[in-house]
């Protein structure tokens, strides 16, 4: 039986070592390699961006923050006003509590901050308990043990399988990552029917989501206080919704949340125009949740530019 146990243990150890080695070389989530250029597999933006800024933040003084909708913005969208050097710190399903923690980390590291432009998606409220590898916070922020953190990323066969399936077997490229942190989504809607399909009509917020929505107010207040104390401008823009998703604004809780958000001192809140024909033009939407850059440039950017001091 000793042979049986020995074979078992040695095989398991060899397989585990191979898995870790393959994951470290390929690094699907770009934990130890930079995330740049065309990518089929979405990297973990939170980790690589923070690791990058920890070394290079003196090159930037303005930040786009927010979820995947804010992730596409670059300094050119705001004409690099006042010589600001923008970095996009957005990440998929990002939320304001983590954003504030990251900003505090940057300030503690001595990074200059003149402006923070935060995208607010009132329909996206996430429960921090359900965190995927894609959304895992950097250990610099979470304080997680680094070995446990790396173990989660590099001892995952599912990640490796998904990565190989998406990259090695002729899948299309979905993302173009830029050094300034912004990303281009490379898929498109193909017909007006896509924008009118059932997934583009959201269900009303659940009771749990409503509770989480109002929990966002406290970190927004913290952001406002930080901006006042550290003399930077904090501007929140409410993300545009396509014409079928606009009903989210009819929800009394959403209206109440936005009204409380607007009442926070030292925080400027910008609404996107809600009656533009761009909101029902499928060519301007990547999918039902994500607008393309022209929508932001036409419906949101001018209003932010009015507020940004040169």
């Amino acid at each position: 039986m000793g042979v049986y146990l020995r074979t078992f243990v040695l095989t398991a150890a060899a397989a585990a070592a191979f898995l870790v080695f393959a994951n470290m070389i390929l690094d699907p989530y770009r934990i130890i390699h930079a995330a740049l250029g065309n990518l089929t597999f979405q990297p973990n933006s939170r980790v690589y961006k923070l690791e990058f800024l920890a070394r290079n933040c003196s090159n930037y003084n303005a930040y786009f923050v927010g979820d995947s909708r804010a992730h596409i913005l670059t300094g050119q969208d705001l004409q690099n006003v006042g010589g600001r050097r923008f970095y996009n710190l957005g990440a998929p399903r990002d939320e304001i509590t983590s954003i504030v923690r990251r900003l505090k980390f940057l300030m503690a590291a001595g990074c200059p901050i003149a402006s923070v432009i935060a995208g607010e998606s009132v329909d996206i409220v996430s429960d921090a308990k359900n965190v995927s590898l894609l959304d895992t916070e950097s250990p610099l922020i979470s304080g997680e043990n680094r070995l446990a953190f790396l173990g989660r990323f590099f001892f995952s066969s599912q990640t490796l399988i998904d990565y190989l399936r998406q990259t090695a077997f002729g899948s299309q490229i979905h993302f173009l990552y830029d050094p300034d942190g912004h990303v281009e989504y490379l898929w498109r809607m193909k017909s007006p029917a896509d924008l009118a399909a059932p997934p583009c009509r959201p269900p009303p917020l659940s009771a749990a989501e409503r509770r989480l929505l109002f929990l966002k107010l406290a970190p927004y207040r913290e952001l406002a206080e930080l901006s006042e104390r550290n003399h930077f401008q904090a501007i929140v823009w409410v993300t545009p919704y396509n014409s079928w998703k606009q009903q989210v604004f009819d929800d009394p809780d959403v209206r109440d949340f936005l009204s409380q958000l607007r009442s926070i001192p030292h925080l400027s809140v910008v609404d996107a125009e809600r009656s533009s024909p761009m909101l029902s033009d499928f060519t301007l939407w990547t999918d039902c949740a994500h607008f393309r850059r022209p929508v932001f440039d036409a419906l949101v950017a001018p209003r932010i530019l009015e507020l940004l001091t040169p």
């Binding site: 039986m1 049986y4 001892f155 995952s156 899948s171 979905h174 498109r188 959201p202 269900p203």
Partner: protein
């Protein structure tokens, strides 16, 4: 702490094992006490406040059992036994059924009894039943004198504490008292690791992915969305697979972990979906619960000794109470009742036609009918409430429509990826996205489950093969290299899929 978590596999288990074998070399009672202490810590990890409840229950039942055993056969002993069982049932009833009975009374009699909303102490159904069996045997005078530490370990032993298998003192106490488990054995370790690995793989690689399919479909049914034919069948069959792989996976892990300590637990599953009758199904599914219900409920009710009518009544009573044991909900009552009906029909069939039907065609037909009957009953086991269960029943019968197109609820947004194009959403709705999984993936998942369920040996057969080969000192390359290599690879495959530990379905009972 879940068996399928790194905290358990890399922290708790190695520590428990190391100290157990270390102390076992010095003093067997110390080692048993350590294992009992580790088991209580394991329980306390879930809910520290219920440790007192567990220890109180163990102490009272131990003392009660001894008192009953001393008076076995006397009137006083019988009264004491009745009292002790009543206290156990009251405790279980208070935690598990108080709100159910109160809300039922409020619904039926329009009363206004306030609900208590008490959190169910984890494992209470299991440790209560284990101890009622002990009391019943004490009353029959077949309980030996046991050390308290062994009794405490018997009830609280962590591999079985949360979700079984339901143990019998007669099969556990002699093992705790013997010297064998306290010495490290490479044979036990090898077999235990293999059984644990199979269980972990069942849970992580098969049950959990099926669970991702099941949840949105049952949630949609609960929300009142009419579930169409295809989606209903996918939901029901996926849950049929999920429940088996989840619960038998848990049982395998429990048996495997216990084997590492050199202690054998009774098997709980023996390829139940290969059954060709519902009678056979209950001889192969959750076998330790079936054994308990047979020995401590069905037989005391009279079993089959008091005529056919009484036998059917006893069967129905046993199955309905067995259903209610799973949870305080009308859905479990209906599930138990359905199986009671199945068993009555099965026994009636046997009494008319005998048991001699055989042949491949007969096996195929009876196997299919049994599987479909069991799968249909699982709808009530899984559904949130009776209306959503009937929504799914209508769905699998095609009464909610066959094509799944227009007006699909947004609930399907997540589910849509799992289905063939056009099955849930209109053709092309998702073509612009690259994240759709193919219909091939769905087919592969069900086909692999079917192969594992119907064509492969079960865990016990595999483990017996390994143990037999080792005991016979067979120098077979298959047993020495091929099987342990496969098991080692399977362990890494399962561990590397454990990104988030998900609870076992039977933990809620």
């Amino acid at each position: 702490m879940l068996f399928n978590s790194f905290a358990f596999i890399l922290g708790f288990l190695p520590l428990a094992l190391a100290l157990f074998f270390l102390l076992g070399r010095l003093n067997r009672v110390w080692a048993a006490a350590w294992l009992a202490l580790a088991s209580i810590a394991f329980y306390g990890y879930w809910s520290p406040k219920y440790i007192v409840l567990l220890l109180g229950s163990v102490a009272c039942n131990f003392l009660g059992g001894r008192a009953i055993a001393k008076r076995a056969g006397s009137r006083g002993g019988r009264w004491l036994f009745a009292f002790a069982v009543a206290v156990n049932l009251l405790l279980l009833g208070f935690y598990k059924y108080a709100d159910f009975f109160a809300s039922s009374a409020n619904d039926l009699a329009k009363t206004h009894i306030p609900l208590l909303h008490i959190a169910l102490p984890i494992g209470i159904s299991f440790f209560t039943f284990t101890q009622i069996a002990f009391l019943a045997d004490a009353n029959k005078g077949i309980v030996k004198e046991y050390r308290f530490v062994h009794y405490l370990l018997f009830v609280s032993y962590f591999p079985h504490l949360i979700a079984g298998p339901i143990l019998h003192h007669a099969e556990m106490m002699p093992q705790f008292e013997s010297a064998a488990p306290y010495r490290f054995s490479a044979r036990h370790f090898g077999v235990g690791l293999t059984i644990f690995t199979i269980g972990l793989a069942k849970k992580v690689l098969i049950a959990d992915p099926f669970g991702e399919m099941v949840s949105p479909i049952f949630a949609a049914a609960h929300a009142g969305v009419p579930i169409r034919l295809l989606a209903a069948w996918v939901g029901v069959l996926a849950f049929t697979c999920q429940l088996y792989f989840d619960f038998s996976g848990y049982s395998d892990m429990a048996i495997g972990i216990s084997k590492l300590f050199g202690i054998d637990l009774p098997i709980n599953f023996a390829s139940p979906y290969k059954s060709t009758s519902v009678i056979q199904f209950w001889q192969r599914w959750h076998m330790t619960l079936s054994r308990f219900l047979r020995d401590y409920l069905y037989f005391p009710l009279g079993g089959n000794r008091r005529g056919k009518l009484r036998r059917y009544l006893n069967l129905m009573t046993t199955m309905v109470l067995g259903g209610l044991w799973h949870g305080a909900n009308y859905t479990f009552l209906i599930w138990g009742g359905l199986h009671g009906c199945y068993l009555m029909i099965n026994h009636a069939w046997r009494s008319v036609f005998g048991q001699r039907q055989s042949g491949v065609l007969w096996t195929l037909v009876s196997g299919t009918v049994t599987f479909l009957a069991v799968a249909a009953a699982w709808i009530f086991f899984r559904a949130e409430d009776v209306p959503s269960a009937f929504n799914l029943v209508r769905g699998i019968a095609g009464f909610n429509g066959i094509a799944v197109h227009e007006g699909a609820s947004v609930f399907w947004q997540g589910v849509g990826r799992l289905f063939p194009q056009g099955a849930v959403f209109p053709e092309g709705a998702f073509q612009h996205l690259q994240f759709t999984s193919s219909r091939v993936e769905l087919a592969v998942r069900f086909l692999s489950a079917a192969v594992l369920l119907f064509a492969m040996p079960n865990t016990r057969q595999i483990a017996d093969g390994i143990e037999g080969a080792c005991a016979a000192h067979r120098r077979s390359r298959i047993y020495q290299y091929a099987i342990p290599s496969l098991a080692g690879l399977l362990l890494v495959a399962a561990l590397s899929q454990m990104q988030k530990a998900s609870a076992f379905l039977y933990f809620q009972f």
